[in-house]
């Protein structure tokens, strides 16, 4: 390994289980290569903890290439750390300076209860998707490519919304712990395409009702979600969700589910 090495102080939230009270623990992170990713730094610290016979810090991770949406915690108060459009796994230690203190916390939201240490339960997002974030199609022979014309700009907008990896940083960043950016991205990427239109009204109403039932907060347009989103999802999607919702509520025959699908 070449490159610089730095020493850090980590202040990490430790919590044994969902019901455990949790507390802060301070670890030194010595001799960390600036070429290590943030998660690799945690791996190094965990190895040291394991060798010392202590419980390693639990944190979420999977692909480690910024596309799966599994990793993420708040570093010095910012979901996925200080870099824009960067997941925690793609954040590198060269971003920090020798002697820095990093406060590492799990995402804080009622809808995302802590499972252990830095790991939170984000299955609330799955429940929102189950409420309508899909398209019902008959499978079978592939259609002719030109049977459903999609203008290029609409395709691009839909793809921008579909870039959402469901990591939960928007909820974590929102001062109100609202889930609007996630839900709006999921509603938008289908609403923009002809395949998504037939169920658009039902989808908007069901997903919003489910989101409300799961205890997310209400959007007050702080834009924190947009600036912390590792995929740069725009709040224009939230405006689209607002449009889709009121249009569905007033102009469609679909009903707003009484209390959402779940809970």
């Amino acid at each position: 390994m070449s490159g610089k090495h730095i020493n850090l102080t980590l202040k990490i939230w430790r919590q044994n289980g969902p019901q455990a009270p949790g507390s802060w623990e301070i670890f030194p992170a010595k001799d960390i290569s600036t070429e290590a990713s943030f998660l690799e730094m945690l791996d190094i610290v965990n190895e040291q903890l394991a060798l010392a016979g202590k419980e390693p810090v639990a944190f979420d991770h999977d692909c480690r290439e910024g596309i799966c949406g599994t990793c993420g915690c708040a570093v010095n108060g910012r979901p996925h750390g200080p870099d824009r459009e960067t997941t925690l796994c793609q954040l590198h230690m060269r971003r920090f300076r020798d002697g820095d203190t990093l406060v590492i916390e799990p995402y804080r939201a009622r809808a995302f209860p802590v499972i252990k240490d830095l790991v939170v339960d984000r299955s609330a997002f799955d429940q929102v998707i189950q409420a309508g974030g899909f398209v019902s199609v008959n499978t079978g022979q592939a259609q002719d490519a030109n049977s459903l014309p999609v203008p290029r700009n609409k395709a691009e907008e839909a793809m921008d919304a579909a870039a959402c990896i469901g990591c939960g940083a928007c909820v974590a960043a929102c001062p109100n712990a609202a889930g609007m950016l996630f839900v709006s991205a999921k509603v938008s990427h289908l609403a923009l395409l002809p395949q998504g239109r037939p169920e658009a009204a039902k989808r908007a109403l069901s997903m919003v009702a489910q989101m409300d039932a799961l205890g997310f907060g209400n959007c007050t347009n702080h834009k924190e979600c947009e600036v912390e989103c590792p995929k740069g999802i725009s709040i224009r999607n939230i405006a689209r969700l607002n449009r889709e919702f009121i249009r569905a509520a007033v102009a469609s025959t679909e009903k707003i589910p009484a209390s959402g699908g779940g809970q």
């Binding site: 202040k11 939230w13 802060w24 708040a74 010095n76 108060g77 910012r78 200080p82 824009r84 406060v103 916390e105 804080r108 939201a109 009622r110 809808a111 960043a173 001062p175 109100n176 712990a177 609202a178 609007m180 919003v208 009702a209 989101m211 409300d212 205890g215 997310f216 907060g217 209400n218 959007c219 007050t220 347009n221 702080h222 834009k223 924190e224 979600c225 947009e226 600036v227 912390e228 709040i235 224009r236 939230i238 405006a239 689209r240 969700l241 607002n242 449009r243 919702f245 009121i246 509520a249 007033v250 009903k255 707003i256 009484a258």
Partner: protein, 216 residues
């Protein structure tokens, strides 16, 4: 009609009602300011504006009732949303900062500036409204002059206009976003308008007491 009620139990429905009532107040602010600017035409123009306004009679009462109803809706929803949002994050972050620059001072203080505006509106109506203050012996200019001669009240009014401007600065563009009007072509204009209208409100209304004091 149960579906109408149900819209306003959802997060987006509540927000949209909040936005619509907010837009109504912005419209009211604009007309209120335009009317009051008659002070720059002199005492006579100001008094004549007030008399013409009161001459509207029942029409004015309808507008007043409409504004009070909108105010009650706006306040009730604000309280509900405020507590729902606090409940959505039971454990606060140890480090809570906006590194990315999303929230503004104005957006973060909306509930508090809103509360202060309510206090101001009550004081304002108690000292100026023709329903409360007897205007048979004194005209509106004399009432205003006596009130603003008190330094404490003058400073309170000027400070209140800054608070209103802060509320408007986030409220205006935010209302458009919430009703779904965010478009790459006109959103930059609306965001600018929020700042410009906030300045107009602060400077426009803020200048009125000073103009009244200067005119005597």
């Amino acid at each position: 009609m149960i579906w109408v009620v149900r819209i306003f139990t959802t997060s987006i429905g509540k927000k949209q009602l909040m936005a619509l009532t907010g837009l109504l107040f912005l419209l009211f602010l604009a007309t209120h300011l335009l009317g009051n600017l008659s002070i720059y035409g002199g005492q006579g123009a100001f008094i004549s504006y007030a008399e013409h306004l009161h001459a509207l009679g029942k029409l004015l009462v309808v507008a007043e009732v409409g504004l009070v109803v909108a105010l009650l809706i706006h306040i009730t929803l604000a309280v509900i949303l405020f507590f729902e949002n606090r409940k959505a994050r039971p454990i606060q972050y140890a480090v809570d900062k906006s590194g990315g620059g999303g929230r503004t001072f104005s957006s973060q203080t909306m509930p508090y500036t809103g509360f202060l505006i309510l206090a101001f509106v009550i004081f304002h109506l108690a000292t100026f409204s023709h329903h409360i203050v007897d205007q048979t012996h004194r005209n509106i200019f004399q009432i205003a002059y006596e009130l603003f001669s008190n330094k404490g009240i003058l400073i309170f009014y000027l400070a209140a206009m800054v608070v209103v401007a802060l509320h408007v600065r986030h409220g205006l563009w935010s209302a458009f976003q919430t009703i779904g009007a965010n478009h790459p072509k006109y959103m930059p204009f609306i965001e600018w308008l929020s700042i410009i209208f906030a300045i107009i409100v602060a400077v426009g209304f803020g200048s009125l007491p000073l103009a009244i004091l200067a005119l005597k």
